[in-house]
Symmetry: C2
Subunit: 232 residues, 2 copies
Amino acid sequence: MRSEELSLIRELPLFAGVTNTTFDKLVRASYLQFFPPHVRLVNEGDPADFLYVVVEGCLELFAEANGHDTTVALVRPPSSFILAAVLTDSTYLLSARTLEKSRLLLIPAENIRQAMDSDTAFTHAIVHDMAWAYRTIVKSHKNHKLRSTIERLANYLLSEEKIQNGQGRITLPHDKRTLASLLGMTPENLSRAFGTLRQYQVEINGREVHLNSLEDLRALAKPTPLIDDAEM
Amino acid sequence: MRSEELSLIRELPLFAGVTNTTFDKLVRASYLQFFPPHVRLVNEGDPADFLYVVVEGCLELFAEANGHDTTVALVRPPSSFILAAVLTDSTYLLSARTLEKSRLLLIPAENIRQAMDSDTAFTHAIVHDMAWAYRTIVKSHKNHKLRSTIERLANYLLSEEKIQNGQGRITLPHDKRTLASLLGMTPENLSRAFGTLRQYQVEINGREVHLNSLEDLRALAKPTPLIDDAEM
DNA sequence: CGTTTGGTTGATAGGAATCAACTTCAGTGG
DNA sequence: CCACTGAAGTTGATTCCTATCAACCAAACG
């Protein structure tokens, strides 16, 4: 591992405040690797051998049943994923695949548990990560149980607008199939939903979206920090 | 607090392995209280001042938006709830109310954080609790995104049958409105869903349910440990 | 170029919510 | 003891939302 990579990793929130000893041990046991797009890295049901940290790129967490699959979350740097499975030493509940070329740090589960025994700062970072992940999925769950598909889409657009800080102009970060799955709808319905949003001054061509009236869109979406605000 | 109560609390998973010092400090700062049925204890959006532990009874975690509310989880002894809000020192994402007369331990958030700094065993118990809660809601999320209402009901019945070990005979632990909300449907549709299940040899009167053909029900429900198995 | 992939559009069916009426039953008070 | 009342649950009619199936389009690519 090169030194510039090392310092990149050292800055990850997961390692904030941990001792150099802990960090060295963890990193020595780990693998930093690039993966091409659309590679399946984790299968639900498999034993949790590694904790994954997304250093670069984007990962999709998804689940399958009844011949369908659905996106549960998209993970971007600098987040870990499937932490809970590692902590309980059980099997993964979700599968994971790369959406784009991605760089991941793979830390053996056993080393995670060792480090937690010896370094309280690391344990605290783990706790924080875990709590953050929990709150994220609670929000997603509320989003799905309390809102219609159009409301979810409208809120998604507003959230992206905030993240991209685009003065009402945003670029969809994923293809529309993935977006549809994340929002819990079919691609066909996403298309129609965008159609419906035209009357709220939403223009779309390709991945470029113009939100010409944030007020109109907000009136429809009724965003709330208890569902829509990303925390750090 | 009486000594029998104290030993009951000492046995909670949350305190497994913690030092007596930590335990004493936490308990001295806490409140053990009975609450009558249908009392709202926590409001989403409020700052997380306490960690709650259900010692006896049953709590409902729910969320509101758009004039609707939906049940996110039912919490029974010996589980804590709203842990993530305490750990991140932020606001509650869910509201909570008692379903029945319940005994709760209220631990001030500040004391939780202090105890985590001084007792690694306590931190580990917290991590485990947090990971467990995360996996529980991931399963619930998958349940909702991948299954129809009838499938969710069928799986719920099968799960209860396993828990109650009732040889195909179970008693619904809650009223049907609550059950409907937990399963993400209206009471009317729950009624109809039970009607549909008659052709799978499910008999129901009041809260007594007879599952006369677990095979038929399983064929419909297609249960999987990746959604339906409760972990400890 | 033809072929593939991602996306759109239309027609239709199905699942679930809503609205309304009705039943049952427990609790209350005359 | 027996009406009243209200809550919980059921049933029916209808509407609405979403999925499905099918056809079609357009840009991308070998």
